[in-house]
């Protein structure tokens, strides 16, 4: 159409994987263009980094975990807000080998688990342990590099390693080549349901250009809905832009990703919206794991009023 296009940058939370196929296919199909936005996408370096950069004005919008948004606002008064709840629960999981015989969290009692410094899995694990009735103190955490975690597990130097369930597909593919199979133990199965990935922006963008926020979210919702319904095509478009990703890997993780976006909870709350009790629980978990003041009013870091 003849409308002037706003040039907008969206910072992802990590390198483009199948998790982000909705955004890439949305851009390719013009989900934002028809809302007057010329969207470009840039990789991220973790949610914390994305939040910091959006707060600093590198980009107006970002993809980031809600815990990062909450922490940045609570601890450092960064003027950032989540504007759309993308994942209705977190993909935090424990990966174990089928050959280890472990099938439940209870069996992790006293086991060795690989971990990276500052990893949120470790921060949330005590709550999970409490829920299944094991002593989190008895876990032997083995600090290592992210790239070495899976290697340590498959060489059986540790019994488990925490990952986001979204990455199971290609990780398992690699494990199969080594004659092993990876089993996923999602935190959410223990009732540990906290909100995760959101779209976020700054107070300044909201004040200056609320219409842009609205249009941006309209595009995002349409892109996600289409990608959910046309996963294979979405991945084809994604792989075109990101030749590092293989098509089946993309589909594997997009399939998994979409189950975090479109599910029963979403059907109850509506796409991108939150249920107050789950948000409350999320804040409790984030506050205690990141040592934030529990009494802080977390709603100042959230503004879902621009959702279509």
């Amino acid at each position: 159409p003849a409308r002037a296009q706003d040039r907008v940058l969206l910072l992802l939370d990590w390198i483009p994987t199948g998790e982000h196929a909705a955004y890439f296919s949305g851009v390719a199909r013009g989900a934002w263009r028809e809302n007057g936005i010329e969207l470009s996408l840039a990789r991220g370096y973790g949610s914390g980094d994305t939040v910091a950069k959006v707060a600093a004005g590198v980009a107006p919008f970002g993809v980031a975990d809600i815990s990062a948004v909450l922490a940045a606002r609570a601890r450092q008064n960064a003027p950032v807000r989540s504007i759309m709840q993308v994942y209705s629960h977190s993909p935090h999981s424990m990966f174990v080998l089928r050959s280890s015989g472990i099938t439940s969290f209870q069996q992790l009692d006293g086991k060795r688990i690989a971990i990276t410094p500052g990893n949120s899995h470790r921060l949330y694990f005590p709550e999970v342990a409490r829920r299944v009735g094991i002593n989190p103190e008895r876990i032997q955490w083995v600090n290592t590099d992210a790239s070495a975690m899976a290697a340590l597990m498959i060489t059986k130097r540790v019994e488990a390693a925490p990952f986001f369930a979204i990455h199971h597909y290609y990780q398992n593919k690699a494990a199969r080549r080594a004659g092993e199979e990876i089993v996923v133990l999602p935190f959410v199965e223990t009732g540990f349901a906290i909100y995760a990935t959101t779209l976020m922006t700054t107070d300044e963008v909201i004040q200056r250009n609320p219409d842009l926020v609205r249009r941006f979210l309209r595009g995002a919702a349409s892109a996600m809905t289409w990608a959910n319904e046309n996963q294979e095509q979405a991945c084809r478009l994604h792989v075109q832009r990101n030749p590092e990703v293989e098509l089946d890997d993309c589909q594997g993780s997009l399939r998994s990703t979409m189950s975090y976006v479109f599910n029963d909870h979403q059907r109850q709350t509506g796409l991108g919206r939150q249920a107050p009790d789950r948000m409350n629980f999320t804040w409790q978990q984030v506050a205690s794991s990141l040592e934030l003041a529990p009494g802080w009013n977390y709603s100042q870091a959230i503004d879902l009023s621009f959702l279509p």
């Binding site: 390198i15 990789r43 910091a52 950069k53 600093a56 290697a151 080594a178």
Partner: protein, 263 residues
């Protein structure tokens, strides 16, 4: 020239021998000890991964090469005057050196967000990080060379009324040429790793990016392919510096020549 080139060919044989031996040992031990692919893929697996992802690999290699070259040239352009400044007086040296040491002992990743916020998500922060990784050894060896000039030559310069600057340019610098090239060789190798560090910190393309994505998707052989490309790039750059030295400053490399020829 002819026998020279032949001699150099022969001199390079042990390097090739060592490389081939290393590759063979690697390939064999991967099979014998059944080393898992995602820990250390066999050279053959790396080769296959490289071939099948070739256009993509090439694209990333070129992206990195650009950063490497710009970072390397930034190092050269900044380090040489800096070295002269440091060598020119103990006062400037005392003021500048500690600052340089600081740039070396802090992790570059800590600087990355600042650089990106300050300069934008473009090529600039990458070049700066590459520069920061590569320049210091060049400065130190250039300074060492500039200060190693025998006192007689300095006295000769003074007798010819050479000012500080001329002394640096006409006596100290020519004398320091072998040391500067020693530093350039290190800087060439470090530029490569510097560019990768920079890409870990902010890039949508390049071998550092490829390593990260390949690792994330557990395509370890491709990640190692990228590492091999980096190693090749390092060696080619190193040899390019060595060749430049031989072509432009034959007397410099001949210093090695004569001393080793006494054997």
């Amino acid at each position: 020239m002819q026998p020279d080139r032949k001699a150099r060919l022969i001199a390079s044989l042990p390097a090739w021998g060592a490389t081939i031996a290393l590759l063979l040992i690697w390939e064999i031990s991967v099979h014998v000890f059944q080393i898992r692919e995602f820990i250390l893929p066999a050279p053959s697996a790396i080769w296959e991964a490289c071939v099948s992802a070739w256009p993509n690999l090439l694209r990333h290699t070129l992206a990195t090469l650009g950063t490497v070259l710009m970072g390397f040239f930034a190092s050269v352009i900044i380090s040489l005057p800096l070295a002269m400044l440091i060598a020119s007086s103990p006062t400037t040296s005392a003021a500048i050196y500690p600052l340089l040491v600081i740039t070396q002992s802090i992790p570059k990743v800590a600087l990355a967000p600042i650089l990106i916020v300050a300069l934008g998500a473009n090529e600039m922060p990458r070049i700066i990080v590459t520069f920061l990784v590569a320049f210091f050894p060049l400065v130190v060896s250039s300074v060492a060379g500039l200060l190693a000039v025998p006192p007689e030559l300095i006295e000769l310069g003074r007798a010819c009324r050479a000012g500080r600057f001329q002394e640096l340019l006409r006596i100290r610098l020519p004398f320091a040429v072998p040391f500067v090239f020693g530093g350039l060789k290190v800087a060439a190798a470090l530029s490569v790793v510097g560019a990768v560090v920079a890409e870990f910190v902010g890039a949508d393309a390049g071998l550092g990016y490829l390593i990260q994505t390949s690792m994330a998707f557990f395509r370890t052989p491709l990640a190692f392919g990228a590492v091999v490309m980096l190693a090749l790039m390092g060696i080619v750059l190193f040899q390019a510096v060595a060749l430049t030295e031989r072509l432009l400053f034959p007397w410099s490399s001949s210093v090695e020549g004569t001393t080793t020829a006494t054997s």
